[in-house]
């Protein structure tokens, strides 16, 4: 361990030799034990900075931030607690789709026909009135 190297270590890692890289710690301590006064100025400056760092208060998260971090975490997977769905449940969705398909089929095939019949009746009524034909009177004549 040279003097220059020990100065470098003090300037980088501070006054405490235990903060030096492990491989150089023992060598540095040995030099300091024999020639402490040679490094007194460097150690004093480093110690002043170390003390200044130690005075800096710790930064702690607020309760709100802590809760927000926890809330952003993955949700626990929902356990069914041993409950098993009945077997038919596996094809229940399929039956739902079948019912939906049947409904759509009926809607497409039957609704236009019903609508057409309804339209025809309505058109006939309009025409009868336009021609002055009274269906009720016609029915009575037939009864007589």
């Amino acid at each position: 361990m040279t003097d220059d190297r020990l100065i470098e270590l003090i300037e980088a890692w501070g006054a405490d030799p235990d903060a030096f890289p492990e491989a150089e710690r023992a060598g540095a301590k040995a030099v300091l034990a024999t020639r402490l006064e040679r490094f007194a100025a460097a150690l004093a400056e480093a110690r002043a900075l170390d003390a200044a760092f130690a005075r800096i208060p710790e930064i702690l998260p607020s309760a709100a931030l802590t809760e927000a971090l926890i809330a952003s975490a993955p949700r626990p997977k929902v356990a069914l607690g041993g409950f098993r769905l009945p077997k038919f449940a596996s094809w229940a969705p399929a039956s739902g789709f079948a019912a939906l398909a049947a409904g759509l089929f009926m809607g497409v095939m039957v609704a236009p026909a019903a609508s057409a019949a309804s339209d025809t009746d309505e058109a006939a009524t309009v025409l009868e009135h336009a021609l002055g034909f009274d269906p009720a009177a016609f029915t009575e004549e037939l009864d007589e």
Partner: protein
């Protein structure tokens, strides 16, 4: 609840175990927030970075492979997010010099403790980004040399160089102020 290892806690957190999640947050959020606050010198931005860091952690947990310590990985994510923000700040203010915080220390008698701490914090915040990160990780947060070097993705020799330059700058600023006061 006791966890058998970091990996056990991470695995449980990934599955949504509330105790494991709370444990990870309690254990690491202060370090992440502290690093981000020192780097950005802005508490609100530091909280945003902390939240983003943990969001990334939650996403990474299910496929977590312990190639690095969780703490190392988490701090590296936070640091990279800080670098991104600092880069954007510089891009959005081209040619504009950052405000020079008052880092001078007046004589002991004239300054109370709060002012002295504030001067040191300002001086650290004014350091170049990587020097500030190295100093925060080693001198303020007590990370081991190996872990700090891994977070910064540099060698221990490079870390030593960053620390030496940071301390030299701080010493010059703080002591120069004291001498001229």
């Amino acid at each position: 609840m006791a966890f058998t290892s970091d990996l056990d806690q991470i695995t449980r957190a990934a599955a949504g175990d509330p105790a494991a999640v709370r444990g990870l947050v309690n254990r690491y959020s202060a370090g992440v927030l502290s690093l981000a606050t020192r780097m950005l010198a802005d508490r609100a931005e530091a909280e945003d970075v902390t939240q983003e860091t943990f969001l990334r952690a939650w996403k990474a947990l299910p496929g977590w492979e312990p190639r690095a310590k969780f703490s190392t990985w988490l701090h590296r994510v936070a640091l990279n997010l800080c670098y991104d923000r600092l880069r954007k700040r510089k891009e959005s203010l081209p040619g504009e010099l950052p405000d020079q915080a008052d880092t001078r220390l007046a004589p002991h008698d004239a300054l109370d403790q709060v002012q002295r701490v504030s001067a040191i914090e300002n001086a650290i915040a004014a350091l170049p980004d990587r020097q500030g990160a190295a100093l925060t990780l080693c001198a303020l947060q007590g990370h081991s040399q190996a872990e700090a070097a891994e977070i910064l993705e540099i060698s221990i020799e490079a870390l030593e160089s960053l620390l030496a330059r940071a301390r030299r700058t701080l010493r010059a600023q703080l002591l120069e102020g004291r001498a001229s006061a």
